[in-house]
């Protein structure tokens, strides 16, 4: 089962990459850009009997390894949900 993981810096945590990208967008003339955050995208396949089970497994992976929950949030998109 295909699961997509989106990892982003927590609100309130400094994100120098996001800030630099936002600055560049503004200087390119994209005056509409606000609150840019740069994160990670992780795509994986999981052996699971159901979407709910896949979600549970990947959530566990995020807590253990894929995200550092001290500074990062994560969001999952599970195939078939």
């Amino acid at each position: 089962m295909r699961v997509e993981v989106f990892v982003t810096p927590k609100r309130g945590v400094l994100d120098p990459q996001g800030r630099a990208v936002e600055h560049s967008l503004l200087s390119l003339g994209f005056k509409q850009a606000r609150n840019v955050r740069v994160g990670k995208y992780i795509l994986l396949e999981v052996d699971a009997g159901s979407a709910a089970e896949a979600r549970r497994i990947v959530q566990h992976m995020c807590e253990r390894l894929l995200a550092n929950t001290v500074i990062e949030d994560y969001r999952l998109e599970v195939e078939g949900e």
């Binding site: 309130g12 945590v13 400094l14 120098p16 990459q17 390894l65 550092n68 001290v70 500074i71």
Partner: protein
């Protein structure tokens, strides 16, 4: 005391730490391999700088699951001394043996420089040969050294004296310009709540000989020797 220095795939400064401890300070040092679960009698373990596992995913995130880290965590739980330098500091934060995390420098650039650090808490085993306000000159070299702790934890870290070193100007002032990487409160080194696990971004092992970057690193290592 027997010291252990861990080598992960991608460690760079492991030999420098061994050199500082064994050759310069005459200590009994054992090199530890990340796949080994045993500490071979080491009572103080140092996790060195470098790019363990190529800094993949996050700095230190993969190294913390190396087999030897189980024993390092056990040593820390039993009150043994564990010190993480640079990448080692990142590993200890990822392993939750130290509070907070280290993220990309404010400038987004890798920094290689000599910095001034002020001793904030001299009553720990890592700083006991110094006085509050003493200044140290040590090298830094990192891309991810911006220290972050959750907003609600930072005041407590400060209150409990877990902040050991801060980046300051050569006059000893914590100015914006003296903070090389944008660390919160200009934090360069922290301890855990029980003051037996320490992490720092500067490299004391690169400052142990007068001809090579000064000797201020020895003040930290000698404190450990005395403090244990």
């Amino acid at each position: 005391m027997k010291w252990g220095v861990v080598t992960f795939p991608g460690s760079l400064d492991d030999r420098d730490v061994v050199w500082a401890l064994a050759d310069v300070m005459g200590q009994n040092v054992v090199s530890l391999w990340h796949k080994d679960e045993r500490l071979h009698g080491a009572e103080c373990v140092i996790l060195p700088g470098g790019f363990s596992y190529g800094d993949y995913l996050r700095c230190g995130a993969l190294a913390r699951f190396s087999p030897i880290m189980n024993s390092v965590a056990r040593l820390a739980e039993d009150g043994g001394i564990v010190v993480g330098i640079c990448n080692g500091f990142q590993v200890l934060c990822e392993a939750r043996l130290l509070p907070g995390a280290l993220t990309r420098n404010r400038s987004l650039s890798f920094i290689c420089d000599q910095v001034t650090l002020r001793v904030e808490n001299p009553s720990t085993r890592f700083t006991c040969l110094m006085n509050r306000g003493d200044l140290l000159r040590l090298p830094i070299k990192h891309g991810e050294g911006l220290y972050v702790a959750p907003e609600d934890e930072l005041p407590q870290l400060e209150e409990r004296g877990q902040v050991l070193l801060r980046y300051v100007s050569s006059a000893g002032e914590a100015t914006e310009e003296a903070n090389p990487n944008g660390s919160l409160n200009a934090i360069a080194a922290v301890a855990n709540e029980t003051f037996n696990v320490f992490g720092l971004m500067p490299h004391p092992e690169h400052a142990v000989e007068a001809g090579l970057g000064g000797t201020d690193g020895l003040r930290l290592f000698n404190s450990l020797l005395r403090g244990v």
